[in-house]
Amino acid sequence: MPQVVFGGLIDGCVYALVAVGMSLVYSITRVINLAQGGFVVLAALVTVALQQAGVPPLLALVVVLVGFAGLLAGVDRTVLRPAARRIGNQRMLLVTVGLLQAISGLLLVVWGNLPYTGRPFTAGPPWTVAPGFLGGVTVQPQQVWIVALLLLAVLALTVLLRHTDLGLTMRATASRPDAARLVGVDTDRIRLIAFGLSGAMAALAGAAVVPITFLQFDTTTSYAVSGFVAAVLGGLGSIGGAVLGGLLLGVVEGVFSRYTGSSLAQVAAIVLLIGLLLVRPAGLLGRAEEVRR
């Protein structure tokens, strides 16, 4: 049982990274970027390709991190921002569905339909923690990396948002976009930064998870859904909420999969979450008035 909860928490950390990226973009643009799930898998497969080309895993992580920050800023500049100028948020959601589909398509063209996995960031044997307690927990070094990267990312974002001028501007833009524009904030630049950060989150999630799982072109949808669910569960636009939502989703799925098999665990998780959404529509840390009509 502790092993199951631990495994769920690790999955949850990955969901949290995806959800934080979505939540950041949502808070600035009010658009849920479902394509985030696609970028996660794309980042993972690019990482694998770099590793296969002989780049050390940690260097590959840095390259992908920087590359995807630029890539998402570019995607916003060329695709999403022009679209947002012309159409409403409901249609924008479908635009991101189209983008998600296009990324899956790109993966299929470049990598085919085979599953890929990568090398862990650092080699080393797994070790067992608290073997006396219900069999204890076996920990892989890569799982420690995942937890560490999530903590680091959240810490960095918190410092950025709470303790820098740029963060202040971003928070102001998030809460009152029109007012921010009136006082001379370059909201397009803020958008670009938000997308850049979300690209970095996608890179972290993809590069960190690919050593402990198998990914292929159609796993994009499941990351999109999990990230979306986690972001909404925590309350859209809240970083802490996204992390909490991701961890909760991971644990619920993990515990259920112990008893029902993994696909029914997903059913249980989704049903629970939809139920929660109907009872507490604002998510765990969100405000209520935005949800219902």
Binding site: I32, V79, P82, A83, R86, I87, N89, Q90, R91, L93, L94, V95, V97, G98, L99, L100, Q101, A102, I103, S104, G105, L106, L108, V109, F217, D218, T221, S222, V225, F228, V229, V232, L236, T260, G261, S262, S263, L264, Q266, V267, I270, V271, L273, I274, L277, L278, P281, E290, V291, R292, R293
Partner: protein
């Protein structure tokens, strides 16, 4: 007066189509199945303005319902279409009441949840659904003692169903129900002040969409003679929405264009099948951004402008 010759020509073309395009009948049948789903969804999305990313739930109720009732319980095939459709209607009525109060993203999420639940349920409930390999040995549809087995027979049965669905949804659009749905889409508060209960109309539209998807699912199972999780996956759920957005809402031609494009593209060539998801995704992004009325809306605008110019001369 001038509409009836056009309808007649259209009817003749549609009836002759399987003979005009030999070898394409299989594609035509699949297009019809998804056209039925998308025509139903158009009532919900096009007329009532509500997104549903989870139409595969109803496709699955129809498909697995028909499969199980015929294979396990030996019901007549027509009854195994009707009963799941009623179940789908009931499920949509209950879910609609709960879900359609949610705003944009939350509704999208909840319906996307339905799609995930559907795929995972079809895969995981092995005892009922046959698991990942699906339910095999589904019989063909039997009507009045005739077995609808061949591609052409399936084409004609589905042609009738699609024509009925097109007629029904066009009637809705032109009738008071369509006006009420338009009012609900545009401004639920003002609609309420006109005596229109927004929740009831949204739910009604959801039920129509569910019944269409369920019937389509049943016929899908009878045509393929099996039903499996791949046919009701999240990817299929998204592609249903893509078909509608691509073609354009509140018409019959729009959904037809969207479905034909998405289903027909992979057949352009073996090598193209690999590129299809990428191209479809990019086309969707472009159409959503630059053609508010979808492909058909854009095309009509173009034809209209050309016509005007011709008229001026």
């Amino acid at each position: 007066m001038n509409a009836s010759p056009r309808v007649l020509v259209l009817a003749v073309v549609l009836l002759a189509l399987p003979w005009l395009t030999p070898g394409w009948t299989e594609l035509l049948v699949i297009v019809e199945i998804f056209l039925l789903v998308v025509l139903g969804l158009d009532v919900l999305t096009g007329q009532a303005g509500q997104i549903s990313l989870g139409q595969t739930l109803f496709l699955a109720i129809g498909g697995y319902g028909a499969g199980l009732l015929t294979v396990r319980a030996g019901w007549p095939t027509w009854l195994a279409v009707v009963v799941p459709a009623l179940v789908a209607a009931a499920v949509a009525a209950v879910l609609g009441r709960a879900f359609l109060r949610l705003r944009g993203y939350y509704l999208a999420l909840a319906t996307l949840g339905l799609a995930v639940v559907t795929q995972a349920g079809a895969t995981g409930l092995t005892a009922v659904t046959g698991g990942p390999s699906g339910l095999v040995g589904v019989p063909s549809l039997s009507l009045f003692g005739l077995t609808v087995f061949s591609d052409r027979a399936n084409y004609y049965v589905l042609l009738v169903l699609c024509a009925l669905a097109a007629w029904f949804t066009a009637n809705l659009r032109r009738g008071q129900t369509g006006r009420a749905l338009a009012a609900v889409e545009h401004d639920p508060q003002a609609a309420a002040m006109l005596g229109i209960d927004p929740a009831r109309y949204r739910t009604g539209a959801f039920v129509v969409a569910a019944v269409a998807a369920s019937v389509a699912g049943s016929l899908y199972a009878y045509y393929l003679r099996f039903i499996s999780p791949d046919l009701v996956s999240v990817t299929v759920a998204l592609s249903i929405v893509i078909m509608l957005a691509l073609g354009g809402v509140r018409t019959v031609v729009g959904p037809l264009l969207g479905v034909a494009l998405l289903q027909g593209l992979p057949l352009v060539g073996q090598s193209f099948a690999l590129w299809q998801p990428l191209v479809a995704g990019l086309v969707l992004v472009l159409v959503l951004t630059y053609l508010p009325g979808g492909l058909w809306g854009g095309l009509r605008g173009l034809l209209g402008r050309a016509g005007e110019r011709a008229g001026v001369r």
